[in-house]
């Protein structure tokens, strides 16, 4: 009996152990998730990517480690969960430096609407023109950063020379002194082309990262060494301990963003009809299917054809999307065409629902399309005219992205 119990136990255990792997949950297929590194990185690049991943997703700041005093969220990953789109909970507010009446608003452009315990958050000055920005997905941005300024300018049509009702202009903006312009950057009167952000006001991923640390989390760096100030409460602009995030972490996060894979399309074969309609009714005039990247020392990014469905240009989207708020050379109703790759996975990071357009006001794909006014009005009318079956085909195509 003694030995029987022992050996039968041992056998059961061995069986269990032998099947170890079978007991682990299955992996999520790469095309079903936004996060994940580019294929083809070498080992040291993979290591750097992992370091950046940890700083982006796992480094959660606290009052003790420099958060705030005023902030919006405490980590990059809190707003860009799974590298996907964000949720109204982390939607941030930007407001203008002044209004038409000449009132100046200190603390603009970004509202830090939360504060660590013991401090007061910033309040939106009454009457300040403002807009809300829902966090976008951050995948495939390494490719987008490598689209040349020349290619972006080639897509622009400021005076609508071809008469299709769609102009498209880049955002010419000043860049901070800590930014080195992208390779072969084109400048005009000392201003450079922006490509990131809802209004394309940001030049490159480095600028986006440094600014996000500072404005979204109240985290200082050697590049932006002062905290956002709540002028009503006189919070300390400079933390006594010096920069909070290290240059190494900033660089690792930038590398992480650069080396996230581009979203992969799902069931491409079955959505050919929708894809055709997408270009027939003029969506593709702004949401450009194919762009190409320039040279990069990171081989898998270099000189590649990509399918982000954007022209990286600003378009006047009409009065419905005019929040009265501007950045750089973008006018109030102008918004950058957002890339549509990854669109079909949006719900997986937005709490199971959709919050589309710059402020998340559209809760379905159809609602998003119906908000296209101004330069988008023509394609919106074309969409409305589609038969139900064709509409469905178009939406299925969008969901496959």
């Amino acid at each position: 009996m003694r030995n029987f119990v022992f050996y039968s136990g041992l056998c059961a255990l061995a069986l269990f152990l032998g099947a170890c792997d079978a007991f682990l949950p299955a992996a999520i297929p790469s095309e079903e998730t936004l996060d994940g590194a580019l294929e083809g990185l070498d080992q040291s690049q993979r290591r750097m990517h992992i370091e950046g991943d940890a700083a982006f997703n796992d480094q959660l700041f606290t009052a003790e480690t420099g958060l705030g005093p005023c902030f919006v969220a405490s980590s990059c990953g809190a707003c860009h969960a799974g590298d996907g789109k964000g949720h109204p909970f982390t939607t941030l507010t930007r407001y203008s430096h002044s209004d038409g009446a000449g009132n100046q608003f200190l603390g603009a452009p970004q509202l830090q609407n939360r504060a660590i315990p013991g401090f007061a958050p910033e309040a939106l000055p009454s009457g300040a023109p403002h807009s809300s920005f829902t966090p976008p997905a951050v995948t495939g941005l390494g490719f987008i950063e490598l689209v040349s300024d020349a290619d972006i300018l080639a897509m622009a049509d400021p005076d609508d020379a071809d008469g299709d009702g769609i102009s498209g202009v880049p955002n010419w903006n000043t860049i901070p002194s800590f930014i080195t312009p992208v390779p072969n950057a084109i400048s005009q009167n000392g201003k450079y082309i922006g490509r990131f952000g809802k209004k394309a006001s940001t030049h490159n991923l480095f600028q986006q990262t440094v600014t996000a640390y500072n404005q979204d989390m109240g985290i200082t760096s050697t590049f932006l060494p002062t905290n956002p100030i709540n002028y009503a409460a006189g919070t300390h602009p400079v933390p006594s301990g010096g920069p909070v995030v290290t240059d190494e972490d900033v660089n690792a996060v930038v590398f992480y963003l650069q080396t996230l894979k581009a979203p992969l399309q799902r069931s491409a074969a079955s959505v050919e009809k929708g894809k055709l309609l997408f270009s027939q009714i003029g969506c593709e005039k702004c949401h450009r299917e194919t762009l190409k990247t320039g040279f990069s020392p990171i081989a898998p990014l270099s000189q590649k054809e990509i399918h982000p469905y954007t022209d990286l240009l600003l378009h006047d989207m009409g009065p419905e999307l005019d929040d009265g708020y501007t950045e750089g050379s973008a006018t109030n109703p102008e918004w950058r065409t957002p890339p549509l790759w990854g669109l079909g996975l949006s719900e997986n990071s937005q709490g199971g629902r959709l919050f589309l357009m710059h402020d998340g006001r559209a809760h379905s794909l159809e609602a998003a399309i119906l908000l296209h006014g101004g330069e988008g009005d023509k394609s919106r009318s074309e969409f409305k005219k589609l038969s139900d079956g064709d509409k469905q085909a178009l939406l299925d195509f969008l969901r496959s992205l």
Partner: protein, 402 residues
């Protein structure tokens, strides 16, 4: 709140006085209650001199993965705990429990208290005491449990093992097969790390690590913890416990800089013998706290959760060289909602939940030693309520009293 609890306890203890009382320490085995667990350890049973030494250790292997990403295989030495106890005089005793967690990463005096045993119903205990919140916190030794992992509710919601400097009373009374016990303490409390920590969620576990907690109560106010429990011999024990205190530094040099922000915990625990070889254990806890409205909803003002364990002994007898071995099947289901509320922005429910199931076998070659094999499957939902992550772990562990 504290006052009404104290009144309840007074009424309760006076009614207990009317019941038949017995001297502590001379009870039949099955009347030992959870709150007496610290003096109910094997190292004390055969102690012949006034000083007794003992302890326990817990170690395990871990093989785990989440959504197909394997986290690899590790050996973990979770804790080594040393006990020393001394009967100073017939009615004064001392016990301490010093714990080394994860090697020497954390060294804690988990317990160090002197008991003045005045009357079965009124004994004074002072020093570093275990806050009597829930049953696991009171009875947390690895060799007592049939699972490698501690219950999530006890660790995440109650910060088990939770102990603090303080003083209080405890006592016990009998009425035939029924015993009643109570414990009330005033101790130092939590600090702001409860809502300011790099877990990015409300966590009593994070709020208890303050190294100054043995010197001062962070809020300048004591925290109250009280528990009442009733036990029916050979059936089971039911306990209700409550903890309340202020966790923030609301005044500096006498100047009020914030409101007093309170933290309250209610726990109910049950353990029952369904048959002579089937045991049921469970606990549920509700945490609520006052979080500044200008702070992030990332840090919830309510949490709750619990666990249920069923342990079925299915073999008792000789195995190899061990004459009195036992084998038991152990099942655990648990759930915690780490942020119970709805988003201000959308009105949708806030996620941050874990549901977990564990199945396993516990082999005791002799009573103070247990070898455990567990399979644990967890479903983890993030704050926003996105599609969950699935995680599983295979754990083999050993826990032994010495």
């Amino acid at each position: 709140m504290i006052r009404s609890l104290l009144i309840t306890l007074c009424v309760l203890s006076s009614s207990l006085l009317l019941a038949q009382t017995d001297s502590l320490g001379q009870q039949a085995d099955d009347s030992t209650m959870n709150f007496e667990a610290n003096y109910d350890r094997p190292f004390l049973s055969g102690a012949s001199s006034s000083l007794a030494l003992g302890g326990y250790m817990e170690a395990n292997t871990l093989y785990a993965g989440t959504d197909g990403i394997e986290e690899g295989f590790s050996f973990q030495f979770r804790r080594l705990t040393l006990f020393a106890s001394s009967t100073i005089s017939p009615n004064i005793r001392f016990l301490t429990e010093i714990e080394f967690e994860d090697g020497t990463k954390e060294i804690n005096i988990e317990y160090a208290a002197v008991d003045l045993m005045l009357h079965p119903l009124a004994n004074v205990r002072g020093g570093i005491v275990v806050n009597p919140i829930g049953a696991f916190n009171q009875k947390h030794d690895g060799p007592q449990w049939d699972f490698v992992d501690r219950p999530i509710e006890a660790v995440e919601l109650l910060g088990a093992t939770l102990s603090n400097v303080g003083v209080g009373l405890y006592g016990k009374a009998f009425a035939s097969d029924l015993s009643f016990g109570y414990e009330v303490y005033l101790t130092n409390g939590f600090d702001e790390a409860v809502i300011d920590n790099d877990l990015n969620r409300t966590s009593l576990a994070a709020g208890k690590v303050n190294v100054e907690k043995f010197e001062e109560s962070h809020s300048g106010l004591p925290m109250f913890t009280g528990k009442v429990a009733a036990k029916l011999r050979n059936v089971g024990e039911l306990g209700i416990s409550y903890m309340t205190g202020v966790y923030n530094e609301w005044q500096i040099d006498g100047v009020e800089v914030d409101e007093k922000r309170s933290l309250n915990v209610l726990a109910v625990d049950l353990n029952a013998s369904i048959t002579s070889s089937t045991e049921l254990r469970g606990e549920v806890a509700f945490v609520s706290l006052d979080v500044p409205s200008t702070y992030s909803q990332q840090f919830g003002s309510k949490q709750w959760g619990g666990y249920v364990d069923v342990v079925q002994r299915f073999y008792e007898g000789p195995v190899l060289v061990f004459d009195n071995a036992t084998l038991a099947l152990a099942l655990r289901g648990e759930y915690v909602d780490l942020n119970d509320g709805t988003f201000n922005e959308t009105g949708d429910a806030i996620g941050d939940e874990v549901t977990s199931f564990t199945g396993g076998i516990a082999f005791r070659p002799s009573a103070p030693v247990v070898i455990k094999a567990n399979y644990k499957y967890s479903i983890i939902t993030d704050l926003l309520g996105n599609p969950p992550a699935y995680a599983s772990a295979l754990l083999f562990g050993i826990a032994a009293y010495f």
